[in-house]
């Protein structure tokens, strides 16, 4: 009896010591109460080493849960992560409205140019409506090239369902050729590796070792765009993706596929220097193909023989250009600066007109969005260019200015 009591007490003592040790090894909870939610959250207990995702999303304002979901009070990884939206990527289009939306954030607002989510979900990059229309038309499934279907249904488009298509070619298209839109899982391989949704463009892809980069950015390198673009071609003959087969070692050869023609600025600058928000993210309307939305031409920045590029002078502190410059402070843009503008009125906020003598050809300064590098350029007026003002497609410029490689 005594021995039994001794043994039981000893074991109870050991178990109690274990309890103390277990309590001791629980990490000290690190909590914050983000001002936007007012709810305490303890994600930083484990994730204190994560850098702030962007200067527009300070952690003390947003916290983690507002965007990512999850259980704010749980310190067990499984439970804490169980209700996260979109796994590690809350910007996936299936959850983006909850994660990034709301009239104070990126949707449902009457403010111009702040309704990104509505624009993105109807954009060609997200719906793939252009490619679907082209292919369905080519194989007789629709009478014209009008966009009728997207990879999901959205106002103005029905959902493309390859299983209901009668043509086996369209079924093959459905299973082999839908790997580039914003909701698609990328193809296998680091060269294709990217996130879905907003992060497809705005966040760096996971590193080669699988670790993730906690970053949202508006200064995308061309390599980010090339996760989908310039990586190869979908072939209508066999309905397969054919990766490009060259092995480029420098930027000149890597930027575009070997067959492409381009000028100096097209490969030395990054895609985002020229291509605008509306081109990449849509403008809320349904377009039938890329050509209809991709409207930037050489003349947008360089003008033609009889006209200078469009410009406007910033005279409001809430001007979109200043907001964009705040997100990526590469240029010291301020009220009073004159910047370039597209045909649709979008500000090319990183290109400023340098003050010059009235009546002389102006000089423009460009700050690259990726690295902030400054360069200057002149308009066509005053140069030796002889291109007719009404023939301004890039191919005409490439006649003289294409880079040899």
């Amino acid at each position: 009896m005594r021995r039994g009591l001794l043994l039981a007490s000893l074991l109870l003592f050991v178990a109690s010591t274990y309890v103390l040790w277990q309590q001791y090894r629980i990490p000290k909870p690190i909590g914050i109460t983000p001002s936007l939610t007012g709810q305490a959250e303890y994600c930083l207990t484990c994730h204190a080493d994560l850098p702030e995702i962007s200067q527009s999303h300070p952690v003390e304002t947003f916290g983690c849960v507002l965007c990512h979901g999850g259980e704010p009070l749980a310190l067990a990884a499984d439970l804490a992560h169980s209700t996260m939206r979109g796994g590690a990527n809350p910007s996936d289009l299936s959850v983006v409205e909850v994660s990034c939306g709301g009239e104070k954030c990126h949707s449902g607002t009457s403010q111009v140019d702040r309704d990104h989510i509505q624009r993105v979900i109807t954009s060609l990059q997200a719906t793939y409506a252009g490619a679907i229309a082209q292919v369905r038309y080519a194989f007789g499934a629709q009478p014209d090239l009008t966009a009728q279907m997207g990879v999901y249904a959205v106002d103005g488009l029905s959902a493309f369902d390859p299983t209901t298509e009668s043509s086996p070619v369209l079924k093959a298209f459905g299973s082999n050729c839908l790997s580039c839109h914003l909701s698609a899982q990328p193809l296998e391989g680091d060269e294709y590796s990217r996130w879905s949704g907003c992060s497809a463009c705005h966040s760096p892809a996971p590193r080669e070792d699988g670790t993730l980069v906690h970053k949202l950015t508006t200064s995308m390198l061309y390599t980010q765009c090339d996760k989908c673009h310039n990586r190869g071609n979908y072939n209508l003959a066999d309905m397969q993706f054919h990766p490009r087969d060259d092995t480029p070692t420098d930027r000149l050869h890597d930027y575009y596929q070997p067959i492409a023609e381009f000028t100096l600025c097209e490969w030395t600058l990054d895609c985002v220097e020229c291509h605008t928000r509306q081109e990449a993210m849509g403008d809320g309307h349904i377009y039938n193909n890329k050509k209809e939305i991709q409207y930037i031409r050489c003349r947008t920045c360089h003008g033609t023989l009889d006209s200078l590029p469009l410009t406007y002078t910033i005279n409001d502190e809430n001007d979109l250009a200043l907001r964009l410059a705040f997100l990526n402070p590469i240029a010291d843009l301020k009220v009073g600066d004159t910047i370039l503008m597209t045909d649709k009125g979008e500000p090319l906020w990183n290109i400023r007109v340098l003050p010059g003598v009235e009546g002389t050809t102006p000089t423009y300064e460009l700050f690259s969005k990726a690295e902030g590098q400054r360069s200057t350029f002149k308009p066509v007026i005053g140069s030796t260019c002889q291109q007719k003002p009404d023939l301004q497609d890039a191919r005409y410029c490439h006649e003289c200015h294409a880079t040899q490689r």
Partner: protein, 346 residues
């Protein structure tokens, strides 16, 4: 000095043969001890728990992760409750398989059985108080069973749930039942049960002339054995509480009505399995109530066959009929429980 309640529970001496662990399994005393532990930890948990749909699961998480030793408190509450159900069932089986339900203990048998039922309800209400996705299905399915009862079902459902579907009123009602209603009944019947044990002559023993030994143990020895059992039980509780955390899941979101099927609490798995076979009223209410009725009728099924001379040992001949009946019933319940767990293997 007037005898205290302690003295009431501990007679000066009791027969040694029937005080042996292999006869009693110690389940009565363990039941009392676990009740005290579950009550004490329950009081502590109450200081942190918030019974509103928005805060319930959060407050449980806060207790578990942020309050020092909160996890231990909650896990001890959980495990002592689970063990209490187990010990109560073992206590019932011990009584059935030793024939200890014979008059004059029939009333106490029924009191004990009602304690088990109350214990299950306490466990179920406590389980629901988590108000997280892990309990969502059982909450919806369990309360819908009440609805399936003809004529009174709807009224009972409204009284229990406080609306047309589980919500804030349900949670506060379950909270009140868990902390107050069921607790009060349990305490009243529990004390009555303990009182009756002694009033009915203590542990069931054969009449003196039929005993093989007249050795007795003292009150002190009994208390010592109980003390030892308590230390062992505490050890088991602490080990379980530190190694196997009580389940947790994300809170039930407001307005979420779809609950994916989840496992019911382990002691109701057999009912969950039964529900797969047909009409919820028949399989979820009538059959379980029938099973309970069979167990309740044990002392009344041809009790004259069992002679008091056969008491004080396991599996007396005269009680064969009910032993077989309860063994079959128990076997069926275990089988149904295993069937309910089968999907876990896939």
């Amino acid at each position: 000095m007037r005898p205290s309640f302690y003295d009431h529970l501990h007679p000066p001496t009791i027969p040694a043969a029937q005080a042996r662990l292999r006869y009693t399994l110690g389940t009565g005393g363990l039941g009392v001890f676990l009740t005290l532990v579950v009550g004490f930890t329950g009081i502590l948990v109450t200081f942190f728990y918030i019974p509103t749909p928005e805060q319930a699961a959060k407050s449980v998480q806060e207790l578990t992760f942020l309050v020092p030793f909160g996890w231990l408190m909650r896990n001890l509450h959980y495990w002592s409750a689970q063990l209490l159900v187990l010990v109560a069932i073992m206590h019932l089986l011990r009584v059935v398989f030793t024939g200890a339900y014979l008059p004059p203990r029939r009333l106490n048998y029924l009191l004990g059985l009602s304690l088990l039922v109350i214990c299950l309800f306490l466990d179920f209400t406590g389980y629901v108080l988590r108000w997280d996705e892990g309990v969502h299905w059982a909450l919806v399915a369990g309360t819908n069973l009440v609805r399936s009862i003809p004529l009174v079902g709807e009224g009972l459902y409204k009284a229990l749930v406080g609306g047309s579907q589980p919500g804030a009123t349900t949670l506060i009602r379950f909270y009140a039942w868990h902390l107050f209603g069921l607790m009060l009944i349990m305490m009243a019947i529990g004390v009555w049960h303990l009182f009756r044990v002694r009033r009915d002559g203590g542990i069931a023993v054969p009449p003196p002339e039929h005993r093989t030994t007249h050795a007795r143990i003292t009150r002190k020895e009994l208390a010592r054995r109980e003390g030892l059992a308590m230390v062992w039980a505490t050890f088991v509780l602490v080990v379980l509480a530190s190694l196997v955390p009580a389940p947790l899941a994300p809170g039930i979101q407001e307005g979420s009505t779809s609950a994916s099927e989840n496992l019911a609490p382990w002691f109701f798995l057999w009912v969950q399995q039964l529900l797969k076979y047909g009409d919820p009223f028949i399989f979820g209410v009538l059959i379980p109530l029938g099973a309970l009725l069979i167990v309740a009728l044990v002392p009344y099924i041809t009790p004259q066959r069992l002679s008091p001379t056969e008491l004080g040992r396991w599996f007396p001949h005269g009680g064969r009929n009910v032993q077989i009946l309860i063994a079959i019933l128990g076997g069926v319940i275990i089988l149904l429980t295993l069937l309910a767990l089968l999907p876990l293997l896939n």
